[in-house]
Symmetry: C2
Subunit: 136 residues, 2 copies
Amino acid sequence: MLQISKKVEYGLIAIRHMALQTGGCCTTAKEISDRYQIPFTLLAKVMQSLSRSGLIIPRQGVYGGYILTKSPANIKISDVINAIERVPQVALMQCETETEDSCTISHHCTIKSPLLKIQQTINNAFQTMTLQEILY
Amino acid sequence: MLQISKKVEYGLIAIRHMALQTGGCCTTAKEISDRYQIPFTLLAKVMQSLSRSGLIIPRQGVYGGYILTKSPANIKISDVINAIERVPQVALMQCETETEDSCTISHHCTIKSPLLKIQQTINNAFQTMTLQEILY
DNA sequence: TGAAATCGGACTATTTAAGTCGTAGTTTAA
DNA sequence: TTAAACTACGACTTAAATAGTCCGATTTCA
């Protein structure tokens, strides 16, 4: 529990790698998977997620790859998480991800709102920290 | 991801419930499971975990139940989490829970230590917040 | 045209979470 | 002393999420 998934981990590694690239146009998924020993097909999926969210731009064909669209300082950790994870927001309590009446104990559960404080703290941490901070 | 598990949720509810009890000696698992519609057998397991960690004391037999050993202000959220979850500390990166050489990318992985900052923030949130804060 | 790249969906396997079941042990009151 | 009302504990099942694979298609460029 409370662990970052492999996909997010791979995504962070990939974007960090791209941010450190100086010359050249594109970074390929293969390049990253080789460098960090990440399963290629899985990384490819992650890259697709990052593309869909606009963090990177894909370029197909020979000499293709991916291009980082922002500077590391402008990419929040939460951007990467949200691009990859299925649950859009960083939800701490499961209640938060469901409709009110789908929670069978919603009328009993009295710990929701207080725990939101913790969630807020975590959300804040991910939204405050940028890729810049994990470069070196 | 980054969600508190049902077990921890149930544990928090249970301890909070006990803290709010004024009279009487013991609170039974059945009482709590009825009140909050929590599966009894599962809650019983959670209570056992809480017992083993010393947060509550079990009392068997008729009129048995559990007794809270500390005041809510002296119970940290992390106490409850650690009592219930298998991973002792709130680990953010999976690397942290494994030995160095079991991580196949440890010599490539360069994002570990920076992300520890986030983990520290989360740890801190759970260690700072007490049960007192979720009573009302 | 062919090699090298992404794209996307379906698929499988593994792991974790959630919940159940059965049996044993303890205490107390009638 | 026996039945009721509890906890204790491990094995088990089920459900869901994660991790990873596979394949056919598309794009690009030499």
